[in-house]
Symmetry: C2
Amino acid sequence: MSSARAARGTQGVGPGEERTRPVTSGAVDGAETVAPRGIPDATVARLPVYLRALVNLAERGTRTCSSEDLAGAAGVNSSKLRKDLSYLGSYGTRGVGYDVEYLRYQIAREIGVTQDLAVAIIGIGNLGHALANYAGFSSRGFRIVALLDNDPDRLGEEVGAMRIRGLDELETVVAEEGVSIGVLATPAAAAQAVSDRLVAAGVTSILNFAPTLVSVPAGVDVRKVDLSIELQILAYHEHRKAAGDGSSDVHPSTRTTVGV
Amino acid sequence: MSSARAARGTQGVGPGEERTRPVTSGAVDGAETVAPRGIPDATVARLPVYLRALVNLAERGTRTCSSEDLAGAAGVNSSKLRKDLSYLGSYGTRGVGYDVEYLRYQIAREIGVTQDLAVAIIGIGNLGHALANYAGFSSRGFRIVALLDNDPDRLGEEVGAMRIRGLDELETVVAEEGVSIGVLATPAAAAQAVSDRLVAAGVTSILNFAPTLVSVPAGVDVRKVDLSIELQILAYHEHRKAAGDGSSDVHPSTRTTVGV
DNA sequence: CCCTGTGAAATCCTTCACAGCC
DNA sequence: GGCTGTGAAGGATTTCACAGGG
């Protein structure tokens, strides 16, 4: 961490994260304490996928499933699934499979969504509206407790069942509601400042939709969701596919946009 | 839907993708053709990040930068950056650094965003609106050519500078505009059917915002963006942090929501 | 010297293959 | 016999450390 910002937490996106050590052991002395915990990041990122697949199975009345079934429903192969689950413990029955309801509970517990976490959304533009109205949050272990925006025109507007509050209430809301996750849906220019205030107020996890990096102190996790980056990753594969055929380049519209 | 679909393309999300081989060599015969191309997926996923960082640097008047500078602006460490760039070629100058404009062009070319790709958005609810209005697309190598929805109430509505068209026009639009990327912003229940139609119409890349898996034939790439999965990944780390201190569990609200 | 580009080492992740239990 | 759980093998990615050119 030489140049640029000092400490920084996670900036999760796609592969190539930047996580803090997998917590190999706690002790620094000679004694080998061999901490049993320490689920690999790749596995952590898939647990929510398994959880959703299990909920779907449960909803459709399935009581039991094999690793093959669940893997199919989650879009991974079964060895990966079994290896992932093995980090949590032995929750299956050899020769039989997994009890859907039981495994679902165990994964939810491991992720920590058995009790709702309070979420605040900052920046209620188009995207903020979409996030605020997304029913998935409330049913998946999260409770949206505040919608904040600094545009006076939007103040008081009702979105879903909530009223938009001023950005100046940020610190109050975080403290009173015990917000642990902040969702940044502001323009890029505002993101760092809002992030700093969230962190100062005690928020330790941020989901960043703004198309910019935000720097946070160590101990705070940031995950980034970036629409145009996702599209560009697709574009790369798209243009490799096109390169395979005869044509030297894609469609009829030879504009040189490069402005990216 | 037990063992689920046969062939499937990519279902990119976070770490743990499921990419097709790194294209080691093209020939199947004995002759070693040693294809020089074949950029690792992890690198491909970071190129757009570097590209954005370079654009920011250029906008602020920077003509030249070191790997350390660029790495800082992109949120990675400098060895990773240099290794990544080494897959594209030698575009820097030893002892000096990189020419911002030149490197920007090279990366844009490698990604394939020097010419606009046509994008169609399907499902113009809250999220679709947000995506349609997102200015970033148009300036980053993409051209939104259609907004489709099957709700008759929304038909004809103006969003940004575009009119919402009926889902029945999907095939026409894809053919006429040469759509290569489809963005799925429909409810989960509709996603698979729309995806099938996109693929049948010739679309080979899909960005899926619907909270469900979509299966596509080999050769089609799918990337998935899932809000509640991102939140759950944060929740995991959040609850591990809380476990570190004295308390046995988090905030005052002992509800057992498990319904995820 | 400074900084890039890159082999080689270290780490992390996935897949294989089978022992072990129902 | 079927299916989980897991060591061990195999890949992929990251980091190190330094050779090599301005």
